[in-house]
């Protein structure tokens, strides 16, 4: 007997300039797993936020158990039986497992008004047993592994009689063994009539665990199919869908020798035996899904993370990149993944941000020469076509695309020979994207070696001269330009 647990009908949600969710209708039956797949920017995270009550929808209706509900706050979401297990776990690490499961609702002895710990522990053990777990309720959560913490979150959801459980990239931080355990847990939940929305990039997993698959793209619902009737390559095509060459310029490179050589980079438990070369004027793409280790590689190259083993040679010379300052000294520029918190200082002005990595160049003495600062800022505003009223406004007032251009301009000012850029065009309008691509093209012509870490498949395929596919912390395969299409790339990266 399958009842419609959750029905989202004609949901729309827009942010300034972006239609995040455009007329999306989804339904979820009791006891089923609905996989939702889509690229970055497809609208998955917005969907989660709406279900969790963290954001309010612009229009459309939500029904739980065939009754219309108004999820306008996290509390409302929980009261209506929706439980979201985020990628970033929000456990109370200093407290015990039982307390996390029962937070705010610990069982109380009616007579003494004291907490009935025995009952709490007994119930916790029961719930955990349903999840095939023998975690002790008394354990402090801080001592648990990531998987165990996730189980605690699931237990919390079940205890609150969640009807709909949303899991966001649940296996991103899990080992294969733990992932298998998680799947057993999901099977148990299904048997109890819980409906699960499973959001993941990993196509093999989605095919293994889900009953139906919904594909989203650019805020729209593309299709929903029964998993048993679907083909992996078909799903991936639906995810991608954009015509490749219409938007992205073909970047011709002029290779002139090896700029950087990475040998056997190792961070224990994170990345293993990473080796590659980047030539001058070449764009090397590094592609991997969430949890693959790509970001760790990027961070190691710019000196944010420590390497346990391995060597980096720049222009033939062995270099140790211990911190970002040394990276900059070695002419390695970078665009970090989080432009608001890592790339920019939001309260600073346009010109202050553009000159932040080159403060030493702002004059020969210890005083900042405003004329130099101004000219540098004006130069980049012009070169990158940054749309801003003037160079004195705070960058937080600018749009995403212009903010990203400022991050780019800031790092280009140091005349980098190597550029490590992560997700350069995420959340940016098409016009700004093209400007950035044009800039990258120019840089290639000038002989800059570019390492591009991106999960935007069309982008990385069309710009890069070569693409390295990374998964589980290792390099799986290398594609030269034209050797792979989008489906193959995504497929390779989704394998374990």
């Amino acid at each position: 007997m399958k009842s419609t647990l959750l029905k989202m009908s004609h949901i729309c949600k827009s942010y300034p300039g972006v239609k995040a969710i455009n007329d999306v209708s989804i339904d979820l039956f009791a006891g089923e797993v609905l996989g939702i797949m889509g690229e970055n920017g497809a609208g998955k995270s917005t969907l989660i936020k709406l279900l969790a009550g963290a954001e309010k929808k612009d229009s459309g209706e939500i029904y739980i158990d065939e009754k219309k509900v108004d999820i306008n706050s996290p509390k409302a979401s929980q009261e209506n039986g929706v439980s979201v297990i985020y990628q970033e776990l929000i456990t109370m690490d200093t407290l015990s497992v039982a307390e996390n499961i029962f937070v705010g609702q610990l069982p109380v002895n009616k007579v003494t008004k004291l907490i009935d710990w025995k009952a709490a522990q007994k119930k916790s053990t029961e719930v955990l047993a349903l999840l095939n777990s023998n975690i002790k309720p008394k354990s402090i959560v801080a001592t648990l592994s990531v998987y165990e913490k996730q189980i605690v979150e699931v237990a919390k959801a079940i205890h609150k009689n969640a009807k709909v459980v949303v899991m966001d990239e649940p296996t991103a931080a899990l080992s294969e063994k733990d992932s298998k355990s998680l799947f057993k847990v999901i099977e148990n939940l299904k048997n109890q009539g819980v409906g699960i929305i499973y959001i993941s990039h990993r196509i093999e997993e989605v095919f293994k665990i889900s009953d139906r698959i919904t594909v989203m793209r650019d805020g729209k619902l593309i299709a929903t199919k029964q998993t048993k009737d679907a083909e992996k390559k078909e799903i991936i095509s639906m995810m991608i869908g954009r015509e490749l060459n219409q938007f992205f310029p073909e970047i011709k490179s002029e290779k002139k020798g090896v700029m950087m050589k990475v040998s056997d980079l190792n961070i224990n438990g994170i990345i293993e035996n990473i080796s590659f070369e980047v030539k001058k004027g070449e764009i090397l793409g590094i592609f991997g899904l969430v949890g693959s280790g790509c970001l760790n590689i990027a961070r190691a190259l710019i000196g944010v993370d420590d390497i346990d083993q391995g060597e980096i040679h720049i222009n033939g010379k062995k270099t140790s990149i211990k911190n970002p300052k040394i990276a900059l000294k070695n002419n390695i520029g970078f665009i970090p993944i989080d432009r608001k918190n890592e790339g920019l200082t939001l309260n600073f002005s346009v010109k202050q941000n553009l000159t932040l990595q080159s403060i030493d160049e702002l004059g020969s003495s210890f005083i900042i020469q405003e004329s130099i600062e101004n000219s540098i800022a004006e130069k980049w505003v012009k070169k990158l076509d940054i749309k801003t009223p003037n160079i004195e406004v705070e960058v937080k007032t600018l749009s995403g695309g212009n903010q990203q251009k400022i991050v780019l301009g800031k790092t280009l000012e140091i005349n980098p020979e190597i550029l490590v850029i992560v997700e350069p065009t995420r959340g940016i309008d098409v016009g700004a994207k093209m400007d950035i691509y044009k800039m990258l093209e120019n840089l290639c012509k000038e002989g800059v070696a570019i390492i591009l870490v991106s999960t935007d498949v069309p982008e990385i395929l069309s710009i890069s001269n070569r693409v390295l596919v990374v998964s589980n912390g290792k390099i799986r395969k290398e594609f030269k330009k034209g050797e792979a299409n989008q489906q193959e790339l995504l497929y390779e990266a989704s394998l374990n």
Binding site: D93, V103, I115, T143, G293
Partner: protein, 337 residues
């Protein structure tokens, strides 16, 4: 890395380590000085700590919830003055005096709590401000209100409140010890076994998650400030009873030691973690050091004032150890992205 160092850094049971440290200290002073190890001296140590211990209890509530309260010494001070005033001028009976002062302490605590939760100012700056404000009020009342120039309290009932011993003849157990046992015991029960007590820990551990779970975060924080205020007032009453008088400067320099004891006792400054057992042992440790240093000065040439330096060093070591642990753990918990 050496095993004992690793254990020190990774182990979660600080109470055990504190207990051992306390024992070592007692042994050290007993060996180095002739009169340290005696019943009379131990009674003296215990007699000196009640006010401090009660303030530490109050501060623990606030720190557990993730805040800090630097005004507790001032609340103790104003209570001391008011207690004398109520007694000598208003002729309150003991019970009325006690109740009024504790209520006033709670009001000051509520003032702190309101500023922190309603206006949203950082608790450190807030209580820095109220610390000065209340101390200023204390001096004003003590010096300018003519009726306050009262001198000592001589009423035996009041004095007994702080000085009584059981049993009367052999003077074994001071009544202040009883207060501590009751207050710490009740607080432990409250914090560990009641719903609200666990909410305090929840808010301190992860405020956002607590809020999501429906806990009224503002109310929890507010109440903790009130509790701290009331306990500080009680501590002031005990101190006045012990000393026989209350002056404008009473409690003026206590807050540093109170913070040291709480931090040393293993209460996490970020909130959500801490055991009262640790706090009371830390209080004893500081008390033993203070007492022991006095004895040490009589035997050696080591100035008694080194104890303040020692307290500062202990605070830094305690926090330093915690910070080092945090860095090690952060490195251990790297994830693949």
């Amino acid at each position: 890395m050496k095993v004992w160092l690793k254990k020190l850094i990774y182990s979660d049971d600080i109470v055990g380590a504190l207990g051992i440290f306390l024992v070592l200290l007692v042994v050290f002073f007993s060996v180095m000085t002739p009169h340290f190890f005696s019943l009379m001296n131990f009674n003296s140590i215990i007699g000196n700590i009640p006010a401090m211990a009660i303030l530490c209890l109050g501060l623990t509530f606030v720190v557990l919830v993730g805040d800090l309260d630097l005004s507790l010494g001032s609340i103790l001070g104003i209570t001391a003055i008011l207690a004398v005033f109520f007694f000598k001028v208003m002729h309150f009976p003991l019970w009325l005096n006690l109740v009024s002062c504790v209520i006033i302490g709670g009001i000051f605590g509520a003032f702190n709590g309101a500023i922190v939760t309603k206006i949203g100012i950082n608790s450190i700056i807030t209580t820095l401000g109220t610390m000065a404000l209340i101390r200023g009020l204390t001096y004003w009342i003590a010096m300018d209100v003519d009726a306050m120039q009262v001198g000592r309290i001589t009423d035996p009932a009041f004095l007994n409140f702080g000085r009584y011993y059981f049993p009367e003849k052999s003077r074994l157990i001071p009544i202040t010890l009883v207060y501590l046992v009751i207050l710490y015991g009740a607080s432990a029960l409250f914090l560990n076994h009641t719903s609200f007590g666990r909410q305090i820990y929840a808010v301190g551990s992860n405020e956002a998650t607590a809020r999501l779970a429906g806990i009224n975060v503002k109310r929890v924080r507010f109440v903790c400030f009130i509790i701290a205020g009331m306990l500080s007032a009680f501590g002031g009453l005990v101190l006045v009873a012990q000393l026989g008088l209350g002056e404008a400067y009473t409690g003026q320099n206590m807050i540093l030691e109170v913070v040291t004891a709480v931090v040393l006792g293993g209460v996490l400054l970020t909130g959500g973690k801490g055991r009262l057992t640790g706090v009371i042992i830390a209080v004893l440790i500081l008390g033993v050091i203070r007492n022991g240093m006095v004895h040490l000065e009589q035997v050696t040439d080591i100035s008694f004032y080194w104890r303040d330096v020692a307290k500062g060093v202990i605070l830094l070591l305690a926090i330093g150890l915690y910070s080092v642990r945090k860095s090690f753990n952060a490195k251990r918990l790297r994830t693949r992205q």
